[in-house]
Amino acid sequence: MTTAGDADVHAFLLLLRDEALAQADAVDAAVAQGRDPGPLAGVPVALKDNLCTRGVPTTCGSKILDGWHPPYDATVVEQLRAAGAIALGKTNMDEFAMGSSTENSAFGPTRNPRDTDRVPGGSSGGSAAAVAAGFTPISLGSDTGGSIRQPAALCGVVGMKPTYGRVSRYGLVAFASSLDQIGPFATTVDDAALLFDVLAGHDPLDSTSLQAPSPSTAPNVGDGVEGVRVGLCADLIEGCAPDVAAQVYAAAEALAAAGAKIDEIRVPEFAYGLSAYYLIAPAEASSNLARYDGVRYGLRVDADDAAAMNTATRTAGFGAEVKRRIMLGTYALSAGYYDAYYAQAQRVRTMVMQAFDRAYLSVDVLLGATAPTTAFALGAKIDDPMAMYMNDVCTIPSNLSGHPAISVPFGVGTDGLPVGIQVLAPALEEALLFRVAAAVEAAAPK
């Protein structure tokens, strides 16, 4: 296992050297005994540090979980082990997945392996950077508002968010439960599909896990896009930098050349997604993060009584962005404000879902940018939350609707840094999503 260069990148918070060697031995033993070692036998994988790993620190990039070792594995961790994959370590992230640059980690930022003066995106910046740097061929992230796709775009790797409910959330430390979804990072669409196939399926431990069967997608990734109706969505392009927009149009032309039918389509409701998201996600987060109160696990800062201890612990344990969102969410749910904020945001969410449904009457998939710009410099947006939030404008609609979406590298911007193309598909249409993504990948400038 190599970690050369991670001192510069800081993709990992923790390496699981002994565990990885033991798991590799187990795979070797399976092969020696003639047993099926699994579809990912011996493949290294990195885990975002909000995925519970039994007996191994799981920090969520926060000081508040100091010293906590989960007594159980997330369902996806068990699935990876059963598939023969080897967990290399836990990757850096924005605290509780709140951020778009991985600068909100309590343990210091991750840097973009393409240019270490730039951010890798976030919140799954560590997992994206680990793949981009070649530390591991695949990794897992979580995507609540774009936290897989945006760092994939900024780091020049493939990152995919499955349909909500496709992959079990059991053992994923919650940020915003109705939006969170675990998904793969990989260097190729093929590998992403292979990893997705291992993760997809019903889990009785997650009530929101879908009952629908999850047929394998990997065998059909290369089936092409002949006749596929692609909606080139201006609402996922117009807010982007010209060099990013230019690559989206180039990708659309490439798809047309591969046999797809390109239609320009407007979905103006997407513009309201960001505002709705920044009420719904903090509202859920304010409740999900209440349990970090110093009573049972993690950090405790003692004080005179229980309430004062709660306050002292949370004041010391949470970073600025987490506190900002807890306060925002608490406010949005408060008596007298609920209807104007939370309930109104849910109405907008419904409106966005209906807009998707309408769009998919005339097209099979949507095409747009993943992030408005290529990787920006460390520190450039950290003091301007609104500018940071704007990074998610193209990715949020799929979280609100629960639909799958993927970011595929396609060309570079004027700064020579990677651009990500986003493909969006209707619920449960991951196989189609991967096929279109593979066609984009195949046409990408080398």
């Binding site: 009785p204 431990l205 409740s287 209440a290 349990r291 109160d293």
Partner: protein, 479 residues
């Protein structure tokens, strides 16, 4: 306020019922009272990061039974999060039903026919249990606290009544009848002392003849029917005194102190939490379909009111007030099956009811374990004169201790063979001969002396004589 105002109480009750499920509401941990602290816990009921709730179907079924018994409409429902910080609350929110409860509306008829409206009966999870250590044990004086999360996630149904009751007696009758229903549905063991059933009372007062509600107070810590009644009477008197003294009642939550016999303020309306309810995103809506609702309704046994009616019918037209009370008692204790078994065996209902409501009720836990056929055989034996009342009670006590048995065999072991007719006649003749003065007075009409002779015969026969037969022989000799 003039002196001649008469006040009436307006009372609504909120009853929390712990469901008697095998496992907790959202995880597979055992639902058990009294186990070693923090042994029935897992990531979900400890609220560990990354854990998720999965709804227990048995809990839903028991909640539906409660709703069915209370004539509620079983509705498509959702769960919500009730957010507040407290150390016994592992997630710092409680999963509860809020604006879309499973059971909506309904009613409960008290034994006297008074109908109390039911607002709703919704599902929620219980909290852990805090024990304050040091100081007086009261929260404020404690040095530290320990938390037992065995209770965390235990399924509850909260049954909210309409403010229809007007006296402490009605509130007690409601709580008692509801308890009987909860036990009859199999939803709960109904034990108030173990906290399986917890009652909060909303109390306000208003001048008789007015329709507007007064300001209400919610009273907590009512651990028995007796506390419930006392607390309501105290609270109503307190509110009346305030209003008549020119002050106003503040809306607040009040704590009942059983030993002091009074309520005191816990928190005012202003101090009340803003619970920031919102839909629980980790659970999907709960909408039991028609076949499931039908299966639940079909699987339910008779409710206490039906069972009382059955006993009244068994007694014929003659149920006295005392017998009505006995009927209520045996149904409350679940001992009516014994009486009905005796009736089915053609034993007299009144005698069976008397034995069940007195001797068996005194040890009703053992009574619930008593095979109904043993009880029926005992009552028949006594009714046929095979055992005297005193002997019958002694055999019944032995049966309760042994968990049943054949009453005839037990009577024999205990030396309780009935006296032969000849032996009884000669025993009575001997006693009469030994007490000539008393006999003369009895014959001359001093009825008090009948008891004297019966006791003397029983003593002379080591209680083997049947009292009724002794009386009959005494009457024959006097004639």
């Amino acid at each position: 306020m003039s002196d001649d105002v008469t006040w009436e109480m307006v009372i609504g009750l909120e009853v929390h019922c712990e469901l008697a499920t095998q496992t907790k509401l959202f995880c597979g941990c055992r639902n058990a009272f009294g186990d070693e602290p923090n042994t029935n816990v897992c990531p979900t009921c400890l609220g560990l990061p990354g854990s998720l709730p999965v709804l227990n179907a048995q809990a839903v079924e028991l909640a539906m039974r409660i709703g069915t018994a209370l004539h509620s409409e079983i509705k498509p429902s959702t769960f919500a999060r009730k957010n507040y910080f407290y150390p016994d609350q592992p997630k710092d929110y409680q999963i509860s039903q809020y604006d879309q409860p499973l059971n909506l509306g309904g009613w409960l008829d008290l034994p006297d026919g008074f109908r109390v409206g039911i607002t709703r009966a919704h599902m929620e999870e219980d909290t852990g249990k805090l024990t304050h250590i040091g100081g007086s044990g009261r929260i404020n004086a404690a040095h530290h606290a320990q938390v037992d999360y065995n209770r965390s996630g235990v399924p509850l149904v909260e049954i909210v009544s309409e403010p229809d009751m007007q006296s402490a007696a009605q509130a007690r009758a409601y709580a008692s009848e509801l308890r009987g229903i909860l036990v009859a549905t199999g939803a709960s063991d109904g034990r108030m002392e173990e906290g399986s059933m917890r009652v909060d009372a909303n109390v306000s007062v208003r001048p008789v003849g007015t329709t507007e509600f007064g300001t209400r107070c919610e009273i907590k810590n009512l651990n028995s029917l007796r506390s419930l009644g006392r607390a309501i009477d105290y609270e109503a008197a307190r509110q009346i005194a305030l209003i008549e003294g020119g002050e106003k009642v503040d809306q607040e939550t009040r704590h009942w102190d059983e030993s002091a016999g009074r309520t005191s303020s816990m928190r005012s309306k202003e101090e009340a939490n803003d619970y920031r309810y919102f839909p629980e995103p980790d659970l999907v809506p709960l909408a039991p379909d028609a076949p499931w609702r039908a299966r639940v309704a079909e699987g339910m046994g008779p409710m206490p009111a039906d069972r009382r009616a059955e006993l009244v019918a068994a007694l014929g037209e003659s149920a006295t007030t005392a017998e009505q009370d006995q009927i209520r008692a045996v149904v409350d204790l679940g001992l009516d099956a014994l009486v009905m078994a005796a009736v089915a065996a053609r034993a007299p209902a009144a005698l069976a009811l008397a034995r069940a409501s007195n001797e068996v009720a005194a040890d009703h836990e053992a009574g619930l374990a008593l095979p109904t056929e043993s009880f029926a055989a005992l009552v028949s034996l006594e009714a046929n004169g095979g055992l005297s009342a005193t002997q019958s009670k002694a055999v019944l006590a032995a049966m309760l201790t042994n968990g049943g048995g054949d009453p005839a065999a037990l009577a024999k072991e205990m030396g309780f063979e009935a006296l032969g007719a000849g032996t009884l006649t000669s025993a009575v003749a001997d006693v009469v001969a030994a007490h000539p003065d008393e006999w003369t007075r009895l014959v001359e009409g001093d009825a008090k002396l009948q008891g004297f002779f019966v006791k003397a015969v029983l003593d002379a026969t080591d209680n083997k004589a049947n009292g009724k037969e002794v009386v009959a022989e005494l009457r024959r000799l006097q004639a």
